[in-house]
Amino acid sequence: MPGELTDIIALSLRVTGLALLISSLIGIPLGALAGLRRFIGRRLLMLILYTGMGFPPVVVGLFVYLLLSRNGWLSGLPTEFLPSLFTPAAMVFAQTILSLPLVAGLTAAAVMAVDPNLRLQVRALGASQVQAAWTILGEARAGVLVAVIAGFGSIISEVGAVMMVGGNIAGHTRVLTTAIVLETSKGNFDLALALGGVLLGLSFLANFALLTLQGKTLDP
């Protein structure tokens, strides 16, 4: 299945990459907001984020399934803007929900760890709200990078959600993790192991890329 295998790898990377991109674009600003500003509902937001970090993928999968299915929670409402079940878009949707709390929660924790004295100094030097948030995110960059890596780790190896909302359809929504489950259940352990190796290798490469992208950030 070499042709099929490259399709599976490509889809895994596309789904997880897109979900990570979306959850970073939303989660990093959201985390900065939760970490830096005082507003009503901030504690509740943090609670939701921290709880969301430990969401079991199958439960998220179930929620998204019910949300997206035709007879589900949103039936009767205009749902054009939501993806259909058993499509890669539905998988991206579920994985975004899975990784968002990690990215946002760890970003919030990282910016909160920045010296409050420095936060004050930045404002004293004339930073606007947005400039101050941007500067503090820069100071917390090592922690923000960890947030993104944790978000990636939580979804690249996740099987429950993509299985439920994607359906593991060959050539359409099959990704590495669902393929591993399938091959294992069929008794094709060698193939399952090989797929597992590919998954590990991809994860390693992606993390390596993220780290080098940030260059000297993690130097002491």
Binding site: D115, N117, L118, L120, Q121, V122, R123, A124, L125, G126, A127, S128, Q131, T135, G138, E139
Partner: protein, 242 residues
């Protein structure tokens, strides 16, 4: 002459504890007001309020003819006329030169390279321009923080113990820089210091803050030679001994 700052009925409380209580205080444009007082008197709190970094529990601050309150904070453009050099220097995890350029960058000033080089030379740190700020000694960091503030040419310069970690040579250097800067820019300055001699050397007026209250405020000569409050006398003498 109208005052640059007019503080009215100003109070600041933290967790219900009043740390600053100023029925009235005026700061004149162009003057250097030295604020003396023991640890915990509320000196740094006063500077944070003057820089509009926190809102007072009670009262209001008029700056340059405009009154600001908790519900009506000053716009960014007004805040940018004021800056503080903090007691504990807070530098960004960047190079020394980038730290000094930071405030200018916020204001969209392009390429302030020459200005930064000049400032670095002025504070005696030109060789450290590219050094990461986190490797600096305490005194070096303090000088970078001062240079970073001066780069902005603020109308109001708030200095919180700017020479606390420095040796006599650098204390002298910093005092000279402050004087020169004032002469060149007509900036108003509030200098918080433990050092009575420094207040004597630099101030136009001197204030003594005790337990959040203004005990005495007077022109320098009068403050040191004819203090009206016995606590002022005691404070000056106590400091003299040490």
């Amino acid at each position: 002459m109208t005052a640059l700052y007019q503080l009215t009925d100003l109070a600041q409380e933290y967790d219900g504890r009043r740390v600053l209580d100023l029925p009235a205080l005026e700061i004149q444009p162009g003057e250097l007001l030295a604020v003396l007082g023991p640890s915990g008197a509320g000196k740094s709190t006063l500077l944070r309020l003057l820089n509009f970094l926190e809102t007072p529990t009670r009262g209001n601050i008029a700056f340059d003819g405009q009154t600001y309150t908790a519900s009506q904070p000053p716009p960014l453009a007004v805040r940018r006329r004021i800056t503080t050099v903090f007691q504990r220097p807070a530098l960004l995890n960047r190079s020394v030169a980038e730290n000094i350029a930071y405030g200018l960058g916020l204001r969209g000033v392009p390429n302030p390279h020459e200005q930064i080089t000049a400032l670095l030379e002025r504070v005696g740190l030109d060789e450290l321009a590219d050094a990461p700020a986190r490797t600096l000694s305490g005194g070096e960091a303090q000088r970078v923080a001062l240079a970073r503030a001066l780069a902005l040419r603020p109308d109001v310069l708030l200095l919180d113990e700017p020479t606390a970690n420095l040796d006599p040579y650098n204390v002298n250097l910093i005092e000279e820089i402050i004087q020169q800067h004032r002469a060149a820019t007509q900036a108003t300055a509030v200098l918080v210091t433990h050092n009575v001699f420094q207040a004597r050397r630099l101030a136009d007026r001197v204030a003594l803050l005790l337990n959040g209250q203004l005990v005495e405020i007077a022109p320098r000569q009068q403050f040191f030679d004819h203090p009206t409050d016995p606590r002022t006398r005691a404070f000056i003498q106590g400091e003299m001994v040490y």
